[in-house]
């Protein structure tokens, strides 16, 4: 590998040389290389999509894109919340179980109010349930934040403890069984699309056309799932908070150097509490969304390891567990990468255990390039 000092020297030479027009093409090439390396994970994702589409043409279809997006909605929200926490230098292991807790809480409220049809009207039940889930879901985040910020419990232990507490409470509420008999409208919202197109009945907004023939049903084109719209809105809002507001700036500052942040007047404890509340809030959004999609509230199973995938996505997206780096955009690409790998391997028919090996290698490779040439990327 070329030592960085020599590389810098090389660039300086190139800069001087490039005042000559015939060598400006070389400089453009280097700029292009920098662009590729900076967005490596995204480009890698696109290459992967091409790879899967060549091996299995059915991969490259609107329905499959929808499938991948819908499957990723929960992890997207969890990982977005995790991004805030990791940038601030912490970690949140409880997100998967907060999701289960809020799913169970909101479903229980909906079930109770709906009373199998004999209770309140459906919209009332649903709104009440969603609010209950979202509000209750803030509590674990608040507790996490207070433990970390005021009591200086290491985030790993604080959120690991909350992982057990949130799950235990969720299982107590539902008794270990799924909470069902919810208003049917939940399923329509959670699984609905913005628009449907069918050759038989044309374009229709929100309303699914009634088709009977199997061929017609299979040919129905569904555009833009409602659940994905909800998630996209949340991601945009929180992405903007992170990148464009002072709150976001402070998060990076705390993650970069806590002492400097304190000295520059940031109320670090209060900020950290808010960070964990954001993580908790997004996790409870994920939980409520699950209820809307599956028309039932389930606690999170231990085997699902949501938090591991959320954290992995954030790190693939460019964050460091030491704090100070990371973006929502990077996290989203990381989540989509994992999601595409999952669906892609199912479609091309790779056997389960070879999949684990392949995913492991691919993940390492996806991150490798960014690390091997950091000088090239960061020497602006």
């Amino acid at each position: 590998m070329v030592p960085s000092r020599q590389r810098r020297h090389l660039f300086q030479c190139l800069d001087t040389i490039c005042i000559f027009p015939d060598l400006s093409a070389m400089k453009n090439k280097i700029n292009f290389q920098r662009l590729v390396l900076k967005n490596w994970v995204l480009i890698f994702l696109l290459l992967l999509i091409c790879f899967f589409s060549i091996l299995e043409p059915a991969f490259f279809s609107i329905r499959n894109v929808n499938n991948i997006l819908i499957a990723s909605t929960a992890v997207l929200l969890l990982a977005a919340g995790e991004t805030f926490v990791i940038i601030s230098g912490g970690i949140d292991l409880s997100v998967g179980f907060i999701m289960g807790f809020s799913a169970v809480s909101s479903a229980t409220v909906m079930q109770f109010l709906f009373a199998k049809g004999a209770g309140y009207p459906e919209p009332v039940c649903i709104i009440a349930g969603c609010l209950a889930g979202l509000l209750l879901g803030l509590i674990p985040g608040l507790v996490n934040g207070i433990l970390v910020a005021r009591f200086r419990v290491p985030p790993f232990i604080a959120t690991l403890g909350m992982y057990g507490i949130a799950n235990g409470v969720a299982m107590k509420i539902c008794g270990g069984f799924p909470v069902s008999f919810l208003p049917p409208l939940t399923g329509k919202i959670g699984n609905g699309y913005l628009a449907y197109y069918s050759s038989k009945s044309g374009l229709s907004l929100f309303q699914k056309p009634v088709l009977t023939d199997r061929a017609d049903i299979l040919a129905l084109v569904r555009l833009v799932p409602v659940s994905v719209i909800i998630v996209a809105v949340l991601l945009i809002i929180f992405g903007l908070i992170l990148s464009k507001t002072r709150f976001g700036q402070h998060t990076y500052a705390i993650g970069g150097n806590v002492d400097a942040a304190i000295r520059s007047g940031i109320d670090v404890p209060r900020h950290l509490i808010r960070t964990y509340v954001i993580s908790s809030f997004l996790a409870s959004c994920a939980g409520v969304l699950l209820v809307l999609r599956f028309t039932m509230g389930n606690h999170t199973q231990f085997g699902a390891t949501y938090e591991l995938f959320a954290i992995a996505s954030v790190v693939i997206g460019g964050a460091s567990l030491m704090g100070g780096k990371g973006t929502i955009y990077g996290t989203v690409v990381g989540v989509l990468l994992l999601g595409s790998l999952e669906i892609g391997f199912v479609m091309i028919g790779v056997e389960v255990f070879y999949r684990y090996i392949a995913v492991g290698c691919i993940l390492i490779f996806a991150v490798l390039v960014d690390q091997v040439f950091p000088d090239l990327v960061h020497n602006e």
């Binding site: 299995e56 059915a58 991969f59 279809s61 329905r63 499959n64 499938n67 991948i68 819908i70 499957a71 929960a74 299982m171 008794g175 270990g176 069984f177 799924p178 069902s180 008999f181 399923g187 699984n191 699914k208 088709l211 199997r214 049903i217 299979l218 129905l220 699950l290 999609r293 599956f294 039932m296 389930n298 199973q301 231990f302 085997g303 699902a304 390891t305 949501y306 999601g339 999952e342 669906i343 199912v346 479609m347 028919g349 389960v352 255990f353």
Partner: protein, 326 residues
């Protein structure tokens, strides 16, 4: 004054000890060590608790392990046995080999052993072997159940078509057995072809995504077998979302209220109910009989069997007892 207080304390202490000793003689203490945190075992506990209350037996339940396997189960099992006051343990061994020495040690200390749902060795405790010490194996056969589902599903799709298995975890012996039973079961109907065998790790979202992907690749998919509660929920959600309810037949396992409700709505076509409540109840009942007067279980085996719910019998009053509930 002091002497009176001390005297009273001593007398009450003696009375308490005597009461404790007498009470200890009267009630049997049993312990239930489940396999994993799952509605199937919760229902088993419920059946066992009801029977224990009826017979006046004290029942202690071990922690439901978070993961399947001896690593998680054995410490809890040994902790229960180490209490020293347990007369009988009934457990669902999470490894047919690893639990043999562990349960043998427990048996040697004078605690009787019954295995429920799964077995050690090969499940035949009547022949001479190093695993013939349990009183009995009480449970249903996952492999056989898988076969039953295969045959029923094959019939439902008209004897030909593509099917897939939506499984959960390749390391859990019970669901692996169901998958194997299903795979062998469809061999009896040559027109039925298995196109995919996926694992969702108890994550219903993954199950939905995997079934959706297989459907995308095989638009003429005819049937799906969701091997437990979570894979079933994801599987039927995928079929409903694709608008193919009824066109693609969904077979599920474990009769939670939600799946029964889905059966009534037509989103699911078959629900296989094991009888966990009955298994738990039988374990307590026969354990009590053995502790009281040494009654042995014939053949050391009790198989309560399955109940298959379909749209035709889901509303039968006799069938309601097989639904799992809290």
């Amino acid at each position: 004054m002091k002497k009176t207080v001390i005297g009273l304390l001593v007398i009450s202490l003696i009375l308490a000890a005597a009461y404790g000793a007498l009470a200890a003689d009267k009630t049997f203490k049993m312990a239930f060590m489940p396999g994993i945190a799952d509605p199937f075992y919760f229902t088993m506990e419920k059946g066992a608790q009801a029977k224990a209350k009826e017979l006046g037996v004290e029942l202690i339940v071990g922690e439901y392990p978070k993961a399947w396997g001896p690593e998680s189960q054995v410490p809890i099992l040994e902790a229960l046995a180490a209490r020293g006051d347990i007369d009988l343990i009934f457990t669902a061994p999470t490894s047919s080999e690893a639990l043999i020495p562990v349960l043998k040690k427990i048996h040697d200390r004078g605690i009787s052993v019954i295995t429920v749902d799964t077995y050690i060795g090969d499940g035949d405790y009547t022949k001479k072997s190093n695993y013939n010490f349990p009183l009995a194996f009480i449970g249903t056969d996952n492999y056989l159940g898988g076969k039953v589902v295969a045959e029923s599903l094959a019939k439902m799709i008209g004897g030909k078509g593509k099917v897939m298995i939506q499984n959960t975890n390749p390391d859990v012996s019970s669901v692996v057995g169901r998958g194997k039973g299903f795979t062998d079961g469809i061999k009896g109907t040559p027109g039925v072809k298995l196109v995919a065998h996926e694992y969702c790790l108890d994550n219903q979202e993954k199950a939905q995504a995997q079934v959706g992907a297989v459907l995308q690749k095989n638009p003429d998919l005819a049937g799906v077998f969701g091997v437990n509660v979570f894979s079933a929920q994801g599987a039927y959600r995928a079929i409903v979302n694709a608008g193919l309810t009824g066109a693609v037949k969904v077979a599920t396992w474990d009769a939670t209220e939600d799946l029964i409700n889905a059966l009534k709505k037509g989103e699911v076509d078959l629900v296989l109910a094991q009888k966990p409540g009955e298994i738990g109840s039988l374990a307590v009942e026969w354990g009590y009989k053995y502790l009281k007067d040494g009654t042995k279980i014939p053949d050391k085996k009790l198989v309560p069997g399955f109940f298959v719910f379909t749209k035709d019998n889901v509303n039968d009053p006799d069938a309601q007892q097989y639904i799992y509930s809290k």
